[in-house]
Amino acid sequence: MAVVKLFGTWFSPYAYRVIWALKLKGISYEYIEEDIRSKSPLLLQYNPIHKKVPVLVHDGKPICESTVILQYIDEIWPQNPLLPADPYDRAVALFWIKFADDKVYLMSKLYQADGEEQRAAVKEWLEMLEVMEEHVLIGGKKFFSGDEINMVDIAFSFVAHWLGVLEDVVGLEIFEPHKFPRVSSWIQNFKSIPLIKENLPDADKMSAFSKHGREMMLASKSN
């Protein structure tokens, strides 16, 4: 029986956060793919409140919410730490992780929007990217906290990979690399890490899947 199990979906950025954390620490786990349109009884039992993935189950005990899971993983398996040791540096890292977490909704906001709503969503995306450019990636660092990735980079990963897919799905270019040189460098550095590069959902597959879903959703919206 596997000691560590992870319930996820193949396209979920939240699930990938946990996958990378487990792999960074060299923890073996059993992965269970969930169909979000038809959730398993086991998932509903482990996460009755939110009924969402990811859920990490460690020795039979469930942990829900990706950021809570990442902190748990970091505390149980301290090798390759995901957060700084110094309390102040850790507080700053947690601030940026919360900032990223509070912005992930921009993915579905843009996905679901058309017309005026879409313009508003794009504006919010650009504001977020500006904060990343002006406040987070200062000091010429390769990654958010220095030369190695940690939980902050993992939290912003939706910008590195999922945003590109979203742009393709909605047919808009939101991220212009020349306007955000630091973010652009960070994305390249992040996606060059072998562990990340080898563990990303296929962009074309996600794009096709999302385009179809979006067409159906927009059609039903106008009816």
Binding site: I49, K61, E65, V68, Y72, Y88, A91, L94, F95
Partner: protein
């Protein structure tokens, strides 16, 4: 070197109250600075340029933003007294999960109870009560969310008690009738000096909410 601790805050803020309680639990001397949110100080804008919000904890000149992060930071730096987070990682994870639930669900639903009217308010009220019942279930028969001692989730949630009267008057319902165990827990927490001196009176909060409603044009 003497520790210099400043808290930029706004008296009815549920989030500010958390940090006040944590600082009081640890017996930390600090300077409380009341912010006028319609006229934010240069210090606030400098210390929290991204969100421009309170509370901001400033420790030896360095800002820590976000109330739950402040509580955790206070707990780590002043770790020799009144521990707030449990030492067991699984219990810590459980605590973080519920603090997140409080912020994502309970806070938003509570806001909708006082900010809306008619059918929208009726829906918000129903969901708000459901969310309170869920967290009451999590409390169970324990004296505190942390078990035998007052801890992280208690700090995260007890500020809401100062807003209960305002929610009840706006929504026309009784939280005690729906969740008696929660009220018993709240009264237990209020017996702690750190909590009693950090929370404003319920009538004062209600008067503030009435002013806000008038200002926002909600009658």
């Amino acid at each position: 070197m003497a520790e210099e601790v400043v808290l930029l805050d706004f008296w009815p803020s549920l989030f500010g109250m958390r940090s006040r309680i944590a600082l009081a639990e640890k017996g930390i001397k600090y300077e409380y600075k009341e912010e006028d949110l319609r006229n934010k100080s240069a210090l606030l804008l400098q210390m929290n340029p991204v969100h421009k919000k309170i509370p901001v904890l400033i420790h030896n000149g360095k800002p820590v933003c976000e109330s739950l992060i402040q509580v955790q930071y206070i707990d780590e730096v002043w770790h020799d007294k009144a521990p707030l987070l449990p030492s067991d990682p699984y219990q810590k994870a459980t605590g973080r999960f519920w603090a997140d639930y409080i912020d994502k669900k309970i806070y938003d639903l509570g806001s909708r109870v006082w900010k809306t009217m008619g059918e929208e308010q009726a829906t918000a009220k129903k969901e708000f009560i459901e969310s309170l019942k869920l967290i009451e279930k999590e409390l169970g028969d324990k004296p505190y969310f942390g078990g035998e001692s007052f801890g992280y989730v208690d700090v995260a949630f007890i500020p809401f008690y100062s807003w209960f009267y305002a929610y009840e008057k706006c929504g026309n319902f009784s939280i005690e009738a729906e969740c008696p165990k929660l009220i018993a827990w709240a009264k237990r927490c209020m017996q702690k000096e750190s909590v009693a001196k950090s929370l404003p009176g319920q009538q004062k909060v209600y008067d503030f909410i009435l002013q806000m409603k008038k200002h926002l044009g909600i009658e």
